[in-house]
């Protein structure tokens, strides 16, 4: 490299390294170190695995952890099931102006804060809410029904809030599938089911994986939706982290929890990538 090019290279590399090292790398290492500390007296610490032991010994913590993982997985699956036909419709059936209009319509709700979206569901689902009133009016129930503060409400909120992150990658990959490839599938005797299974879904795999990764991640790390729709005791793992950090001021245990969450999400992301033979660059980049 010439001197001038070298200077340019260093100038461009510096912000990137500052960002990744100071805001991502060192903080996570520091958090890990803090999670390994055990408070033995006022201002006195020892290095031990005590925080992790607490996590594994206390059934409530472990249960919340597993429950969050399972619920997030279910939310991801439901989002995929709902989003796929819609994405397919936008990508392959709608044409021209209709296509861009539908796609835009999908995006608009997500330019709005998650808080507003969740607030909307609260208005719909609570005891005095619209759904309850509608059910009473139609005679299906004879008194107000509370539909908030249960797992189904959390699920509704998570699915709604993640929808965009499934629809966009799906539409993008499905759009890149040439119509003539689908036609060739039919021409050679395929039917809707076999063309879907052997041609469309394998083609959309990168989009499905990247959508699932993002949705899973967002659900796992969500605090707002479970808290607002599921109530304070909805047993979401992020609530434990929040309460250790902000309420109980036990940062050591909170850091350990944070690390468990990071570990879980990394394992699942890595596993999904391995399972489908994708790479992070291809699915995210």
């Amino acid at each position: 490299m010439k001197a001038e090019a070298k200077l340019g290279f260093v100038l461009l590399l510096t912000p990137l390294l500052l960002w990744l090292v100071l805001l991502i790398f060192i903080p996570h290492i520091d958090m890990f170190l803090v999670s390994l500390r055990e408070r033995v007296g006022v201002g006195k610490y020892e290095t031990s695995l005590a925080n992790y032991l607490t996590f594994f010994r206390e059934p409530l913590y472990l249960w919340t952890f597993l429950r969050t993982a399972v619920m997030s997985t279910v939310a991801t699956a439901i989002t995929l099931l709902i989003a796929f036909p819609v994405s397919y419709y936008i990508a392959k059936i709608a044409k021209g102006r209709m296509q861009s209009a539908l796609f835009l319509l999908c995006l608009i709700p997500f330019y709005v804060s998650e808080l507003v979206r969740t607030f909307g569901w609260m208005i719909l689902l609570r005891e005095t809410g619209l759904v309850s009133n509608l059910l009473q009016w139609s005679g299906l129930v004879d008194q107000p029904v509370e539909m908030l503060y249960n797992d189904a409400a959390i699920m509704v909120g998570l699915v709604y809030t993640s929808m965009l992150f499934m629809v966009v990658p799906l539409v993008t990959t499905l759009e890149s599938l040439d119509d003539s490839v689908i036609e060739a599938g039919y021409d050679l005797g395929g039917n809707a089911f076999s063309v879907m299974r052997e041609i469309v879904i394998p083609h959309a795999a990168p989009g499905i994986v990247s959508g699932c990764i993002v949705v899973f991640m967002l659900s796992l790390g969500n605090y707002l939706t479970p808290t607002m729709l599921g109530g304070k005791d909805s047993l979401w793992f992020t609530q434990l982290i929040y309460s250790q950090f902000i309420v109980r001021f036990n940062w050591e245990l909170g850091a350990a929890f944070g690390f468990m969450l990071l570990f879980l999400s990394s394992v699942i992301v890595w596993g999904m990538l391995r399972l489908t033979g994708q790479t992070l660059e291809k699915t995210m980049g």
Binding site: D178, S180, V181, E183, A184, D187, L188, N191, E198
Partner: protein, 366 residues
């Protein structure tokens, strides 16, 4: 014998426009049939109707005598080689070729055997495990054909499959396609806008323009005896002049072009009479060049002039000749036997052709 493919009074409209206007034709079993026409002439529409991706507005398509009305594309005994081949990028070569057989519910071992056989046949044994994008353009071409041929279709449709290849490969694939057709002994229906593809490979060619078939015939018939001005202009190169017919005598006529060139030609049975405005087409290779006028004594059209331009293009080299008494420039094929190697711009030459070789049509027909 029932023809493999029969189209009867086929009409297809898109809103106001009529893409295919009352087209009827038959393709006998085992033949290579091409539909040749400029883009937008409706040839793709016909092909997609045969494959079942479009319904005809009216008319019928019969395959081996059976009407295809209401038969879904996946139930038709035709297969199609798509313009950009549409090989399945998510599968390897063997899975691509075996795709249709799997749909038929054939046993695995049987499929594997048939796939190997097909690969053998297209001269690419042992590539079954490769990915689609590891193949060259010509190899993909052959795989796309094999993928259809394992289905043993009654008719194979080919939608300009050579369009994406470079020139050399295209020349090679023309010969290979013809050979494959003979080897598989299947009826091919081929659509293209490239006349040389159609001329080289086909038993029968339909020239299509603006939704109708202008002429159906063998390559020779189209080339030497076009039935319409469009065909004369579209197939092969021609000198084309417009003029007035001055005299008609038996099967012969004499006309004067707009710039004053007088020439004789044959009527070939076309409806023309003295005083009509007409277009005459004379192919550059039908015109002889000579150094002296005496060599041209046998031709009834003779012109003396000078070389105004040399268009060197190897075997297809031509000269533009400017007649001595003004008028249009005439494009003439230059024989490559050596005697004109030194010909250069400004040299005097004599040219002549037989009136038999010209084709004359009433003006305004195309």
């Amino acid at each position: 014998m029932t023809p493999d493919l029969e189209c009867v009074d086929l009409i297809r409209r898109f809103g106001e426009t009529t893409a295919v206007d009352n087209v009827s034709f038959e393709v006998p079993a085992g033949s290579f049939f091409s539909i040749l026409g400029p883009s937008g002439c409706g040839k793709t529409t016909i092909m997609r109707m045969i494959a079942g991706f479009l319904d005809p507005t009216s008319g019928d398509i019969r395959i081996k005598g059976k009407s295809m009305a209401g038969v879904a594309p996946n139930k038709r005994p035709v297969n199609m080689v798509f313009q950009h081949l549409a090989l399945f990028p998510m599968m390897n070569i063997a899975d691509n070729i075996g795709y249709g057989l799997r749909r038929k519910g054939m046993a695995r071992a049987e499929i594997a055997r048939k796939v190997d056989e097909a690969l053998e046949r297209i001269g690419l044994p042992g590539i079954g495990k490769r990915k689609v994008d590891e193949l060259s353009g010509g190899q993909k071409q052959r795989v796309a054909i094999a993928r259809c041929m394992v289905m043993e279709p009654d008719v194979l449709l080919l939608d300009e499959p050579l369009g994406a290849l470079d020139l050399k490969l295209r020349e090679h694939m023309k010969i290979e396609l013809k050979a494959l057709q003979a080897a598989f002994d299947t009826t091919f229906v081929y659509i293209t806008h490239d006349q040389s593809e159609a001329l080289v490979m086909s038993d029968q060619i339909a020239v299509m323009n603006k939704g109708v078939f202008e002429q159906v015939g063998t390559a020779r018939e189209l080339y030497y005896r076009p039935e319409s001005a469009f065909v004369a202009g579209f197939v092969g190169d021609s000198n084309r002049w417009r003029g007035r017919i001055e005299r008609i005598e038996g099967g012969e006529m004499e006309m004067r072009t707009e710039s004053g060139l007088s020439m004789r030609g044959a009527l070939h049975g076309r409806q023309l009479s003295a005083g009509d405005t007409a277009d005459i087409f004379v192919r550059p290779e039908a015109i002889r060049v000579a150094r002296s006028e005496t060599e041209l004594a046998s031709f009834d059209n003779r012109i003396s002039g000078t070389v105004s331009s040399l268009l060197f293009n190897g075997a297809a080299s031509r000269v533009l000749v400017q007649g001595g008494d003004g008028g249009e420039q005439i494009e003439v094929t230059l024989p490559q036997s050596g005697e004109y190697a030194t010909l250069s711009k400004g040299d005097p030459v004599h040219i002549g052709w037989s009136g038999e070789q010209g084709n004359c049509f009433p003006a305004g027909a195309a």
